[in-house]
Symmetry: C2
Subunit: 169 residues, 2 copies
């Protein structure tokens, strides 16, 4: 729904396809998304985009990065806050990768939002939203609610992808 | 070298092959190892074993589990100790999966060592060895040095595999 609303503004229509895809284990979000897009195209035989995202914390050498989902399910936000205990540097970024392929053309578009990790869990949102404060506000993604979309890494990635797609067509 | 020494006792000879294999992203060590063994067989056309292992901490819902290597490279042992701060339950297990395939037959053999996470880093060994105390001792894997092999999850997995292989042949 998020992708549809954003891409609509560029005259691009998109449908959701539920397919089980195996995911590579890689420290590179790009590689994971590119490989998934190729598998999705092989199974659908239609142009596809695949989105993959992750939270990268500078003081933790990019942890949880490509394994953000597993880390959230195990140690959660409380775990992240514990790990950052005692670190002055709480800077982090949320990265979204949009991988596209239509069998001939392929592209990778990235959306990045810089920010920092909050001291406590703030707001009731999903995933890492309650602990991520994007630059330019004092609120977490969770507290920002609908306003989050103005900062969203996913929106940025989708917009870049749309611009690329319109340029090559 | 470790595998060769152990399998030799069963009359099984084994060579090391360096191949670049992509690794699945999965919460299941078995699935990762099985898939890698299949890829290795496809590329070598010879019977292969692939070993994958992980540290599973009970209080952290199995974290770092299949992503033990990435987690070690980012938050390291200090990160694990921080995460366990305040937990009375420090129980953990080291699991080793040996996946075998020769194109017709396939097997998965598991070696498991139960133990607990130490309060501080003890000994200068590799990976999580300085924070894992196997049941039956008061020393970490790192402090145990050569004696570690008596407790090793990898040895157990390889022995089970050897017994299976001799039984089916």
């Amino acid at each position: 729904m998020e992708a549809r609303a954003i891409l609509e503004q560029y005259g691009i229509t998109v449908d959701f396809a539920k397919i089980n895809l195996v995911e590579l284990q890689s420290d590179s979000l790009e590689q994971i998304a590119r490989d998934k897009a190729r598998s999705a195209f092989d199974s659908l035989k239609k142009p596809v985009i695949v989105e993959d995202d992750g939270l990268f914390i500078d003081a933790l050498k990019g942890f949880p990065g490509p394994y953000s989902s597993f880390v959230f399910q195990t140690i959660g936000n409380i775990g992240i806050l514990k790990l950052l205990n005692g670190y002055a540097d709480r800077s982090a970024s949320f990265r979204s990768i949009i991988a596209y392929t239509d069998g001939n053309n392929a592209s990778i578009s990235e959306g990045l939002v810089k920010g920092k990790i909050s001291d406590i869990v703030l707001g009731g949102g999903w995933g890492y939203d309650p602990i991520f404060i994007p630059d330019g506000t004092r609120l977490t993604f969770a507290e920002l609610k609908e306003e989050k979309n103005n900062f969203s890494h996913r929106r940025k990635g989708l917009e870049r992808f749309a611009e690329w797609l319109l340029a090559v067509n």
